[in-house]
């Protein structure tokens, strides 16, 4: 565990020491705030619950984008600058390295998600929503962030170009988000598979509406574990290439 924390702490510090981390935070808060005011709050009268649901809808999209942007540098940058040698020639296992990278990005993303908390708080000014709804929505955001960070970590391990890593992660996430469409145009059992894989439509909407289903939690955690495993295997395979 010491090795995991060593990697995580250094990478987390790197986010705070670079302009990139602050840019992503600023962009997320700006666009999320804008979307909250224009679309979630709007100009017409709405139930507070609907405002909150819309807030989680928009925040889902921004968190997914932020997670892709945060993770593209994780391993690709180390390979680009050659610092991967420090890690590869250390006694740390590939699993420790991947877990440390994941934790650092997850830590930073959690902070970003926490910073969006003022928006649900604003709903209380003129309305009322349940704390359970807010907690369920934020649980969904954290689980979504976790899955996308794992996907981004994997994509970052595939290439030394951060741009390529971001594109690969974007494509994987895009396919997962749009897989509900594939589910509509295919027949069972394929349609069931595509429908189950849907990152937003099937698994985030319950959180958005204030429900926490075990099936959805398992889905996001499975996705996280699967892509972290793939990253580890890919890292290990590099010693043979």
């Amino acid at each position: 565990m010491r090795g995991v924390l060593l990697i995580a702490r250094r990478d987390l510090a790197a986010y705070f020491n670079s302009i990139w981390g602050y840019l992503v935070v600023a962009a997320l808060l700006f666009f999320n705030g804008l979307a909250f005011n224009v679309f979630a709050m709007g100009k017409t009268a709405k139930y507070s619950t609907d405002v909150l649901e819309d807030f989680f809808y928009w925040t889902f999209g921004f968190i997914v984008a932020a997670a892709v942007l945060l993770t593209m540098r994780l391993i690709a940058e180390e390979r680009q600058t050659g610092t991967i040698v420090l890690i590869d020639s250390s006694p740390l296992s590939d699993w420790q390295v991947v877990a440390g990278k994941y934790l650092s990005a997850m830590g930073f993303l959690t902070l970003m998600i926490a910073l969006t908390g003022y928006m649900p708080a604003l709903i209380f000014v003129e309305g009322k929503v349940s704390y359970g709804h807010i907690a369920a929505g934020y649980t969904g955001l954290l689980l979504t962030g976790s899955a996308v960070i794992a996907i981004g970590t994997f994509a970052s391990s595939l290439s030394r170009s951060q741009l390529v890593a971001a594109v690969i992660a974007g494509v994987i996430v895009g396919v997962l988000i749009l897989s509900w469409l594939l589910g509509r145009v295919t027949e069972a059992p394929l349609s069931d598979v595509f429908s189950y894989l849907s990152l937003y439509d099937r698994h985030f909407q319950p959180f958005q509406r204030g429900r926490i289903n075990l099936e959805d939690v398992v889905y996001y955690l499975s996705l996280t574990f699967a892509f972290l495993m793939l990253s580890t295997r890919w890292m290990a395979a590099r010693r043979w290439r």
Binding site: R2, G3, L6, I7, R10, A14, N17, S18, T81, G82, T83, I84, V85, L86, I87, D88, S89, S90, P91, L92, S93, R239, W240, R241
Partner: protein, 309 residues
């Protein structure tokens, strides 16, 4: 002691290193010579644990690198040609982090920090951000990260490339200082540097180890037993005539050296006594006679002859 046996590494179907075996004793500085593509970097990467071999073994004090890769990596320090540095960190913080990922405790690293900073001559920049350092200092910080965990073997890939003459002299001192603490393996294209810093030399060519030994041993091997060097006082024409007419001289090369002539003579057989009589008989003053000693460049070119693209 480092023992490499039958090391073989392929990239796809291309053999980068083939059946390379050598042994390095403790506290030796060994130089790795070879043309581009000879397999030096691949061998170094296998030794550093970055790549796995297709065949063969690497052992450090009887611990096999394949059986216990983590413990072997903890005993090796590696500096690639471009120092791997987190440039946003301060030197001291970076070295602390490098020691930690090599498995050392904070107290062990802090106890060693001052010595490492002194060996690498970077004490006065220890609290500076790495990004603000010159290339020479970055190289030294790179060496510091490679030795902060007290490794048994330090691998330095082109440690003086890109350094100015003053930095080269300083780096030479740093490398020599390492010898007191660990075994050092250096890869370099700068032959004079290998000559000045290394106890032994390994020559790789086309993925194979073609020679190993001290510079003198390699020099003798290349020079052969029938090439001699003479210094002679007298007429150049007379000297040329004696060497041309002598039945035992195959070819010769005469050059001025101050007020005498220096002749490199390749003999069909070791018939020096007869040649001395012929020179003295022609009225020439023989000042010295000895075996030819090839320079490292000549040795290197000789050992890798015929393989350059």
């Amino acid at each position: 002691m480092i023992q490499v046996s039958g090391l073989t590494r392929y990239y796809g179907s291309h053999p980068a290193v083939r059946d390379v075996s050598f042994r390095i004793e403790s506290n030796e500085i060994v130089g790795f010579l070879g043309l581009n593509g000879a397999g030096k970097s691949t061998t170094l990467k296998v030794l550093a644990g970055l790549l796995l071999p297709n065949a063969g073994s690497v052992r450090i004090d009887d611990v096999d690198a394949l059986e216990a890769p983590d413990s072997i990596r903890a005993r090796i320090g590696f500096l690639p040609e471009d120092p791997p540095l987190y440039t946003e960190m301060r030197v001291r913080d970076f070295l602390l982090w490098a020691g930690r990922i090599k498995g050392r405790s904070d107290s062990q690293i802090k106890a060693r920090m001052a010595e490492v900073l002194k060996i690498c001559q970077i004490s006065h920049v220890a609290d500076r951000v790495i990004d603000t350092l010159s290339h020479g200092y970055r190289k030294r910080v790179g060496i510091a990260q490679a030795i902060i965990h007290e490794p048994d073997l330090v691998i330095l890939d082109e440690p003086i490339s890109g350094l100015d003459p003053v930095q080269i002299v300083e780096m030479r001192d740093v490398i020599k200082a390492l010898k007191k603490h660990c075994t050092v393996l250096i890869s370099s294209h700068i032959l004079s540097e290998i000559s000045q810093t290394c106890d032994r030399i390994l020559v790789l060519n086309d993925g194979r180890l073609v020679a190993q030994g001290t510079e003198d041993e390699l020099s003798n091997r290349m020079a052969g037993s029938n090439e001699i060097v003479l210094t002679v006082r007298g007429s150049r024409d007379a000297l040329d005539k004696v060497l041309s007419d002598s039945g035992s001289v195959l070819d010769h090369d005469v050059r001025p050296q101050g007020d005498v002539w220096r002749a490199t003579v390749n003999m069909a057989q070791d018939d020096r006594e007869k040649l001395v009589w012929e020179l003295v008989g022609a009225g020439l003053g023989l000042r010295s006679l000895g075996d030819s000693e090839a320079e490292l460049e000549e040795i290197f070119l000789g050992l890798t002859a015929g393989t350059q693209p």
